[in-house]
Amino acid sequence: MTHIKSKSGISVRDLHLSFGSTKVLTGVNLEIEPGEFFAFLGPSGSGKSTLLRAIAGFGPQPQGQILVGDRNLAGLPPWERNVGMVFQSYALWPHMSVRKNVAFGLVEKKVPTRLIDEKVEAALSLVGLLDYAERMPSQLSGGQQQRVALARTIVTKPDVLLLDEPLSNLDASLRVQMRRELLALQRKLGLTTIFVTHDQEEANTTADRMAVLDQGVVQQVGSPQTLYDHPENLFVAGFLGTANILAGELVRSNGSTRLMLETGEQLPIDNEATGTGSLVLRPQNISLSENSEASELNGVVSHREFLGAQVRYLVDVANTQIVVDQSHAVDQPILDIGFRVGLVINSKSAVFLPRGQKQHAA
């Protein structure tokens, strides 16, 4: 059981789905490679769960194709899809022991009793819960429940594994631990997996590739770093991490490029592009200098938040507010509100999005 090594990828082709007259998914196209850990990321209500559930066969009948391996799932009832799904609420059946929960799918598949015991124990030891087999779900902690839910699904050897926000009910610290375990398990099983989350850190740290959804439309597909570093639109830029988005025009003169902000300011930018658009600038790629005179750009601290590892400043530069994150070291003083600072931009890290690309509101 430890080596499933999924041969099935997932293809979603031109999928449309509506609840009654409300369109929820529009023209979704995805190609997920066999064995890939793929994430759906997006704000609440963007249609992540709906898409996942459509793959598993729940919810309204969609238009378009869903292929797992070569099988077209369209029209099949959930119980004939062989698609494993772990629910956000785990949905462990409270009237069955852990063992019974895990055995359920095997019983439904009419696996011989002797084999069931074996497989259940293998699955439980895989998630480290062999000793808990006789407990009832209500006697388990959240993390343990989550693992039972996982064991219950993988024990049936599904073609692919779907996870709907499997970690959202857990504590912050448990969440980090569980996502590592999940990833390790997925790697071990080689099972094509889709992971739904609205937490970008979770997606970033686990997924091979991910799709960012908004309002039922796939905004961009790619690896976490690609999406973070090269967002294709403002929505993706703003949704993945904090971003300063400065609208203006890139003007080239004397071999150097400057961004003429709509508010009248100018920024020297290390970029080849020209034209109007928006500049995406990450807070950690700007630094503050107390010597405001020396820098080209300066402003006044208008708000600050101590985040622990960083201090986040909002700096008013003329009419624009810029977010700057400064790494924090012990006893390093925090700048007061009203303090005048210079800003140094690591302009290589700035990404320019020319106008005309689809630009969703962040």
Binding site: P78, V83, A91, P94, H95, E108, T153
Partner: protein
Amino acid sequence: MDTTTQDAGGKPGIKRSLTDRIFPSLSGTALAAIFIATLLFGFLILPVAKVIYVAFLDPNSGALTLQNFGDFFSSSLFRESFFNSFYVSAMSVVLASVFALPLAYITSRFEFSGAMLIQSLGFIPLIMPPFVGAIAMQLLFGRNGSINLLLAQYGINIPFMEGLNGVILVQSVHYFPFILINLSTSLRNIDRSMEESAQNLGAHGLRLFRRVVFPLAAPGYLAGASLVFIKVFDDLGTPLLLNVNNMLAPQAYLRISSIGISDPMGYVISFILVAFSVFSLWASFLLMRGKDYATTQKGGGGLSRRKLSTRENIGAYGIVIAILLLVLSPHIALGLLAFGTIWSYSPLPDGYTLENFNTMFGQSGQYIKNTLIYAGAAAFLDIVLATAIAYIVLRTKIVGRKWLDYMATAALAVPGVVLGIGYLRTFNDFEVPFVGKPLASWWVIIVVALMIRRLPYALRACTAALQQVSQSLEEAAENLGATRSRTIRKVVIPLMSGGILAGFVTSFATAAVELSATIMLVSSDSDAPLAYGIYLFMQTPSGRGAGAALGILAVVIVAAGTMLAQCIIDRERKARTGEH
């Protein structure tokens, strides 16, 4: 309570807690608990004890003895009766479940138009007026009833109504709404992800229902099933009307109400009925303990109503209509009886007429009025008591609070005759001030009897309702300065209103057709309720149609009330959730 604030020592806090420690029981809820306990003792325990203590007397010497119980268990007839009662109750639960399960499942888990109508219709069998129900069933399903007369040409005769079978059929039709109501609520509380995860793992159809859905709805099902079991076990009207004697309740009744003799066995049986009922109740509590799965989970999907395909839809409608036809058949027959002329040994009445209604309306004005007053007042008092008991049991730490629940619920098991005789015996010498009548012959005693007998229904509904009110809603009110009692009035009760209304409707509907205790207590025709009017009509051959007409009227009144209540609940729910 407030004498402490001006204490010379100036330490109000400490003084207060001191008084609290000395008089810990004087809080409002404790007073209410004492009041309710007294009430239940005075109007339930004491009167019943006064009747039933005969069970412990040696009939020959008048000394205390357990000999009568020895006689009970050594009598083969009684043992057989006990077994029959048990068998009939158990089988009624089974058959009632067969009726209730599909109705509840289809209407609460699928997108099914008319679900609310079906739920309301499913409630109507509870409103079965005395006498007419069994007669109507005989006319349809009896050995020579419509069905068997129609089948006779094929040489078939199905013994629907013979002996214990008849009792089981009539009882399960009559009481299945208890299961329907409780089970539907439970089913609606199952998070859809519970079902979906099972489907995802390959389960569907009946297996899905059997392995996942039903076990999760088990608490509601058990609550309903235990009510049905106890009611059937204790019910005597139906077996008597079907002339089945070999069951405990009719044996008790026959022995208590025979002219002239008071066989102690009747009281022994009554005692055993009460004890066994309390025992089964307790057993069902035990069974339910720890099974109250809170299945609406954080991050879950809530209730899902699945869409049915056209074929499934037709099938579902077929099942629903068949069941409704069956469970409403007594009422259909009742209607035929009321609108028919002569109906004798034929599949349908010979002709149709409104004459029965004429006769009935001419004579029944006061019955209707009285019924509305009695059942209304009893049901109102029931919900007041039930709300109070539910609150005390669930929200306070008063010692022995559970016993209020047990006591009130034990009323389920007390045969109406026993309660009636108990009231006459206990309250006849109690002259009501200003009225100049003994309490036992004052009409209010009828209200009290109805109130006590129907309290268990209201109590179950209110308890369930209170369980669903989050405690933080109460704490928020107290935090904003509302005292305990104002919190109850302004927050708890409004939030329980759906359950309270359901309790009211159940109590009202069943109280409106109660007869066994009332007939003992009616002391003047002008005080008589509707069920009593039906009884009078049904004493003469010419009164059968008119009695049925009065029965129909009772059903219509109560059903209209039920629908109204449903609408109110629904409107309130919509207002609350902002749907339109």
